[in-house]
């Protein structure tokens, strides 16, 4: 029987459930797939790999007790052993008064995110793509580093209350850093489930163009600057708002910057944000990790904090319904949004630059982290192309700077929103021009 198919999944869950003693509820969460990645640096391929794996996660419930185990083998012995391990954990676990029964059968809206061609890209094709990128950089005496990856991924969930769901997706990613002969670098990336819709040449040329601009960087003092953030830079910082702010458990724990601010203006009025697994630019999963259907959630409407995302547990506590954002249960994080989508604006990146008297343009950020959660103060470094904009033009490269800034404060002063959305990590976002952004220190390159 072929791996990573519905039929294969049904056979495994049938066996696993047959090992459960009477009176014990069970949930099987199975994920697995095949993944390949070609890694290059200094214009050569230096790592190149393929792997296949799976994980069968068994969660058992009896009364108010829960037990769990997982294995990556599907033989009878392995599944039976995992069931017994979960039963042992269940026997000794303390009662959880908040524990919910397993959900019943659900209806899902299908999401198309599988391309057989993409799933089956060969090492030769990946090497050919790297070769093309290197070919464009060598005449300029630049060096490339990056990845080309592809894979296919299966997720299935079923429980003894009759819920069953599965989803198959593919992935493709290309990321490239181009370094010029003075050490200045440029970066670009793109990814989608269908590799034919990724503009490989455009991404390569974008990174090369950045490297061409990134000579003789000027040293600028830290301080407040008008800031143009390219989409990846927006994603690098907003991802923290997603998992530190808009999850209902973070809110209940008192950690979210939205505590006491739901219904209030938290960002600029120009900004509207959803969590939307059905976005064509970044299709997600049709169900969450307890099998609930994903809903499109309006997180921010015209700058006003509108809603949080929920799993069944937080929904019950806050007297609402699950939005389909659960992580595998049980967990300490609670629900988190995984498919952030911003509204579009009407400005091109060129227009943002042309309308800037003095400001900085950021390609992306490095090593962003949370300094203080309640004000959502973040810190991080610029990377692979920080540029000074003066009188409507890029006038020079700038040595990298460290920012330390409250994200809600920075997003409360948006001048322009980009007219094109890009998929970057968990976010589909435009470029943004912010009136003010605080850089706190500098580095040497």
């Amino acid at each position: 029987m072929s791996y990573f198919t519905e039929e294969w999944f049904n056979e495994i869950i049938g066996r696993a459930f047959s090992y459960l003693p009477a009176g014990v509820g069970g949930e099987i969460l199975l994920h697995g797939g095949r993944f390949s990645l070609t890694r290059f640096a200094n214009n050569i391929i230096h790592q190149n790999l393929a792997r296949e794996d799976l994980s069968v996660n068994i969660r058992l419930i009896m009364g108010k007790k829960v037990g769990k185990s997982s294995v990556n083998q599907i033989s009878d012995d392995s599944i039976r052993w995992a069931v017994n391990l979960a039963l042992e954990a269940l026997r000794f676990s303390p009662d959880d008064p908040e524990l919910l029964d397993l959900p019943e059968k659900q209806q899902y809206e299908p999401i198309d995110s599988y391309s057989k061609t993409t799933a089956e890209l060969t090492p030769e094709i990946r090497a050919g793509l790297v070769f093309k990128a290197v070919e464009k950089s060598v005449p300029k005496k630049f060096e490339c580093a990056g990845i080309v990856s592809n894979g296919e991924h299966f997720l299935g969930i079923a429980n003894t209350n009759g819920l069953i769901a599965s989803h198959k997706s593919s992935s493709f990613e290309f990321a490239i850093t181009v370094t010029n002969n003075e050490g200045g670098s440029g970066w670009a990336s793109g990814g989608f489930y269908d590799f034919e819709r990724v503009d490989f040449d455009r991404i390569t040329e974008r990174a090369i163009r950045k490297a061409e601009l990134n000579f003789n960087p000027r040293e600028l003092p830290p301080g407040e600057y008008t800031l143009i953030l390219e989409p990846q830079a927006v994603s690098d910082i907003f991802s923290f708002a997603a998992y530190m702010g808009f999850g209902a458990q973070a809110y209940l724990d008192g950690m979210s910057f939205l505590v006491g601010r739901l219904g209030e203006l938290v960002f600029d009025e120009k900004l509207t944000i959803w969590d939307d697994a059905y976005s064509q630019l970044n299709p997600g999963l049709p169900f969450d990790f307890e099998g609930m259907p994903r809903k499109k959630v309006l997180l921010v409407r015209n700058g006003v904090a509108n809603s949080l995302v929920h799993d069944r547990k937080t929904a019950k506590k806050m007297n609402t319904t699950s939005t389909g954002h659960s992580l595998p249960q049980p967990n300490t994080w609670g629900p988190i949004p995984l498919n952030i989508v911003f509204n579009k604006g009407n400005s091109s990146l060129e227009n943002m630059i042309e309308t800037t008297e003095k400001g900085l343009l950021v390609t992306h950020f490095h090593y962003v982290n949370v300094v203080e959660p309640r004000k959502l103060i973040l810190t991080g470094m610029t990377r692979d192309g920080l540029f000074l904009v003066e009188n409507g033009k890029i006038t020079s490269a700038v040595k990298n700077l460290r920012f330390t800034e409250s994200l809600p404060k920075a997003l409360s002063k948006i001048d322009l929103i980009g007219s094109e959305l890009e998929s970057c990590g968990i976010c589909v976002v435009p470029a943004l021009k912010l009136n003010s952004f605080n850089f706190s220190s500098k580095t040497e390159f």
Binding site: E52, V71, F92, P330, Y367, R374, G380
Partner: protein
């Protein structure tokens, strides 16, 4: 089992690989988290699989599978060779491995009490007791206590004739209390943040940490931080306690000493390094009292092992000697690029499913001769920062900014109060150059890091950093005003 290894290696040989190795790993993980009186996380995980690495036409190929059957392993070896053929389309020079003799050996880390034989109810009972103590005050919104145990059984075999069996047992845990008010959210952790302290040891490590005896202090400190003043802003003398100093070593010495970063292999992701090779043995990394040692043999160290995933025996050497930059972390592929004949044994993979890359071994700051009391008494205007809260460093490992859970202000040789949100920022060689005092062996602890990320696809690695509190003069502190 040996027939599985032979099937894979023979398949690689038949496909004309000039070198091949295979790692078969069985991994067991037990992780328990109690959050606010209920089970927050429960993990009982067992995984196994094989990773096969080959050199064909002078290039690397790697393939991995969870299916440990003879035919499947032979097929995976052929896939690794095909991948190497793809890599060979774009190389400048053929891979040359530094010499290492073949070993037939068995190595195992030590423990007194096997953590997997301790009943789960005993573990849960400890976590529930801690949880109860932490939540005695309603201002504590979140109490989390964690225990985690790992056992990795690994066999490495290569076409050079090595057959090495190793068993690693890791234990650890910790707890935290987070207090919240209308405007503040403050956390204290024990013995350090992000799930606590870890070592290659057994359950005796858990028993030695005295969770119960420290829970009430941690609770009260979290609550006190809600009304504590903000950390002052400006230049002050800074004393870092051991666990924060361990992370400072990790980020500003460990990562930049990885030779693959130095040669640009991580340029697209983790970054490169300011410690370029012309600096070797002539660059002033820190003050003369700064001596930093890499040690794959350190007792309790999370990176301690008999052999790395190149089949190289563990080593101990200086990275920084009397303040001068002295050495790198190397593997068999790159050692020759700095003129070394042998690898230092730093090639490690995250499980069977990843390709080995250069990872930190245990990296430690050698102790000085101060006591902490004397160090505080010798400081006129300073701050003692404890337990990491946030970390960030640029991609060449120069500009860093760290946040800690609690700061203790020092005036005229005495601690005069606590401050919230303490942060400090610096440039790596200037910072280490300002180190003027290090506490002695009595304070020296190998702090375990279990979540070090590197590589594409991302790999997790574990290592320890021995450190005792140390003082740094005239440091920028207090970023939040």
């Amino acid at each position: 089992m040996k027939e599985l290894f032979e099937a894979a290696l023979e398949s690689a040989r038949l496909a004309k690989a000039s070198y091949a190795d295979i790692r078969i790993i069985n991994f067991r993980l037990e992780s328990l988290v109690i959050k606010n009186g209920i089970v927050g996380t429960i993990i009982n995980e067992t995984t196994s699989g094989a990773g096969i690495r080959v050199i064909k036409d002078g290039a690397w190929g790697f393939a991995a599978t969870n299916r440990l059957e003879r035919d499947e392993l032979a097929k995976t070896a052929r896939l690794a060779v095909r991948i190497a053929e793809g890599s060979a389309r774009l190389i400048k020079e053929k891979i040359t491995l530094a010499y290492e003799p073949p070993y037939i050996d068995r190595w195992q880390s030590g423990y007194i009490i096997d953590p997997f034989k301790v009943p789960i109810e005993k573990k849960l009972e400890l976590l529930m007791k801690v949880d109860e103590l932490l939540r005695k005050d309603p201002r504590i919104k979140v109490a989390e206590s964690t225990l985690r145990f790992e056992r990795e059984e690994k066999i490495f075999a290569s076409t050079e004739g090595s057959y090495i069996e190793q068993v690693f047992t890791v234990s650890g845990g910790g707890f935290s209390a987070s207090a919240a008010s209308e405007t503040e959210y403050q956390t204290r952790s024990y013995p350090s943040s992000f799930d606590g302290q870890y070592a290659q040891a057994g359950y005796e490590l858990i028993e030695s940490m005295d969770f119960i005896g420290n829970a009430e202090r941690i609770r009260e400190e979290a609550i006190a931080l809600l009304s504590a003043p903000q950390c002052p802003t400006g230049k002050m003398d800074l004393i870092l306690e051991g666990s924060q100093l361990a992370l400072q070593i990790h980020e500003s010495c460990g990562h930049p000493s990885e030779l693959d970063r130095v040669f640009g292999y991580e340029a697209n992701y983790a970054g490169t390094s300011f410690l370029t090779t012309e600096k070797l043995r002539n660059f002033k990394y820190g003050s003369e009292i700064v001596n930093i040692v890499a040690d794959g043999t350190l007792p309790l160290g999370l990176a301690t092992r008999g052999y790395d995933d190149d089949g190289v025996r563990s080593d101990r050497w200086f990275l920084v000697k009397d303040g001068i930059w002295w050495g790198y972390l190397t593997n068999r592929e790159l050692a020759h690029k700095i003129g070394e004949q042998r690898s230092r044994g730093c090639n490690r993979a995250d499980g069977w499913q990843n390709i080995p890359i250069i990872r930190m071994t245990n990296i430690s700051l050698l102790p000085g001769d101060w006591t902490l009391n004397d160090l505080i008494a010798d400081t006129d205007n300073g701050i003692l920062m404890e337990v990491n809260k946030s970390w960030s460093i640029d991609q060449r490992r120069l500009n860093f900014q760290f946040g800690c859970e609690i700061g203790r202000l020092i005036k005229n040789g005495k601690i005069v109060g606590i401050v919230k949100n303490p942060t400090y920022q610096g440039i790596t060689p200037e910072f280490w150059g300002s180190c003027d005092a290090i506490c002695n062996w009595e304070y020296w602890v190998p702090y375990g890091v279990i979540n070090c990320g590197k590589g594409e696809p991302g790999q997790r690695a574990e290592m320890s950093h021995g450190a005792s509190p140390a003082r740094f003069r005239n440091v920028n502190v207090g970023i939040i005003k």
